[in-house]
């Protein structure tokens, strides 16, 4: 599974340009699903048909990552960018960004009036090595993603785009390990989550499932003075979402996860996230309303180039999903 994770997190795919991630996943799951299709917004939807008598279940893990989009190229060839999704300039300064055509640039920052001030996006530029507007290899509207290969630190894996390629990896692993199931399971690899859950909105409408589960990252509260005050820890098992900034998990879906984890001896933790939300919110509010929950992978340094997870949690997340989906929902 580590190989799949490495391929997925290192793939290039900011919101709206998920095609490389989509191609990669398609290869990883080839032969495992009954049907695979791509919809109007670029969601990849793989259906694994059940043996009958079960429910229509939608899993959603998003393929897109945060990134930048070229807003302007100045006379000297410096590239100005705007954020795609929740980019935090502080985390990106002096890092690198890769554009779709292979161009790589350094993220520079203008002099700040106060040296200890956090730079706003408008103070950043990307130096792609061009000397003029004319010889600049990118143009307005080109998308970029941050560059940072995966590193293994024992049980910990760190890379850009764990959010949410790690969820994609868990979904892929679930599909691989799943034996006979009564359920029709739609594995959705969604697009444009980082800009507003857009892919999940339209894919959920099309599928109209009986229940939806997002597989996404959540914050970790186990670092010195953490950004988010929460009880989640790396290595303490998959996190079962109770609520986040945009969704209250449907109680029976949460209970289904808890019950299955306990019955299968899989460690788990309960998650209450103050801000942010996931595809589960979009699924829950589709059409006439759909029961939904979220299985989260606790992640440190979210929306930075060094998003860090515990491999054990990742493996256990796939185990929990397989256990949940292998028998009828009580």
């Amino acid at each position: 599974m580590r190989d799949t994770i490495k391929k997925l997190v290192e793939a290039w795919g900011p919101s709206g340009a998920e095609h490389r991630v989509r191609a990669l996943i398609q290869k990883e799951i080839s032969g495992l699903a009954d049907t695979i299709r791509t919809d109007a917004l670029g969601n990849l939807i793989a259906l694994k048909k059940g043996s009958g008598g079960g429910s229509k279940v939608m899993l959603s893990a998003h393929m897109d990552e945060i990134g930048v989009i070229v807003s302007w190229i100045d006379e000297k060839g410096f590239v100005r960018v705007n954020p795609v999704g929740g980019v935090r300039p502080l985390y990106e300064v002096m890092g690198r960004v890769a554009f779709e055509n292979g161009t790589v640039g350094v993220i520079g920052v203008e002099k700040m009036e106060k040296p200890d001030q956090v730079p706003p996006m408008q103070k950043l530029y990307v130096d792609v090595g061009a000397a003029s507007r004319e010889d600049c290899p990118v143009r307005i509207g080109d998308l970029g993603s941050f560059v940072r290969p995966m590193v293994e630190m024992g049980d910990r894996l760190t890379s850009k785009a764990m959010d949410d390629r790690i969820g994609c990896a868990v979904s892929v692993q679930t599909l691989r390990d799943l034996g006979p199931s009564p359920h029709d399971i739609y594995f959705v690899f969604s697009s444009q989550e980082e800009v507003g859950l857009r892919g999940a909105m339209t894919s959920a409408f099309g599928i109209s499932p009986d229940v939806g589960i997002a597989v996404d990252v959540t914050g970790a509260g186990d670092t010195p003075e953490p950004q988010l005050k929460m009880a989640t820890k790396l290595g303490a098992g998959p996190a079962i979402k109770v609520k986040d900034g945009g969704m209250l998990a449907t109680p029976w879906v949460k209970e289904w996860m808890v019950r299955t984890a306990e019955a299968s001896n899989i460690p788990y933790q309960l998650e209450v996230l103050a801000g942010g939300t996931t595809d589960a919110r979009a699924i829950q509010t589709t059409q006439a309303g759909i029961p939904a929950g979220c299985l989260s992978i606790v992640t440190r340094y979210i929306h930075s180039p060094s998003e860090t997870v515990s491999y054990r949690d990742v493996v256990d997340s796939a185990r929990l999903l397989v256990a949940m989906l292998s028998r009828p929902i009580e």
Partner: protein
Amino acid sequence: MILEALSNAFGPSGCEGKVRRVVLDAVADKVDEVQVDHLGNVIARQKGTVYPAFKVMVAAHMDEVGFMITHADDNGLLHFTKVGGIDDRVLPAKVVRIGKSEIPGVISMKPVHLTGSGERGKVVSHEDMAIDIGVSSKAEAERLVTKGDYAAFDVAFEELGAMVKGKAFDDRAGCAVLIALIERGPYPFDFWPVFTTMEEVGLRGARVAAYRVTPDAAFALEGTICDDGPREKDISPTTAVGKGPAISPMDRSVIADRRLVRLLIETAEAEGIPYQLKQPGMGGTDAGAIHLTKTGVPSVPVSVPSRYIHSPVCMLSKEDLENTVRLMAATLQRITPEVLRADRGGEV
């Protein structure tokens, strides 16, 4: 030009009736079907000649930013709230029209003589302004204006050489382009021109119109942000006047479908039509609501650069307006179901 009648028409969000009248008069006999839906959208249709089942919706919004009267005070001054995004800095001493009978009024302002230097540097909140309609008591005011009446800026359309000035080019410019596209129809596909309502308060008309139409692809036509005045820093003007229609790869509300962006660029280059790429991430458009409809609709915004939008007066170039019509007409001649079956990769 039709833009003159459109621009001069009174039509803040939710009160688009007068604009709708101009639109219906211009298009009713040029389309196969036309209906006005529950939210006031004008939904028209020109049947396709080659791909009758391939539906393309092109939207432009009829509403403009404006005001709503909240109450008249004892002095007969009208207090108001804003409808849509208006910067308080543009309000003092501007002329407006109020209600069905378009009563003239002026937004109050303290004369410079009485303003201290400290005060002059500050922005007065619209909550501390009122509209003066020339009466001196609450009773007189209430005879002319009712709580809940709309108000809109009152600026007459005028030509200024190669440019035109007027109110509400956001989005009467888009409406003018859409009317011109209807005049050039029919097209190979099933063409659904939609003049939407309530865009300025959250893309509300487009949302329900797209649900009804369920198109296979969509374009949103706009009069968009243009900040091309002299500047100290070499940064994006968002769009610039005179450089042609602005294609949006992304705005706040939508990431444009890459294949439609590519089609627009290829068409512009093949036809020798100037075009520009709008600064990504700025502003929202009806495409934001349309592309999320049902199972999703590939969508892209295309705009006429318009200076000073969301203020009493906008300016745009007649050539940009004409080139937007040319680009859209040529693109619509080229769009086929194949375009949307193509791979999304490649450089855009």
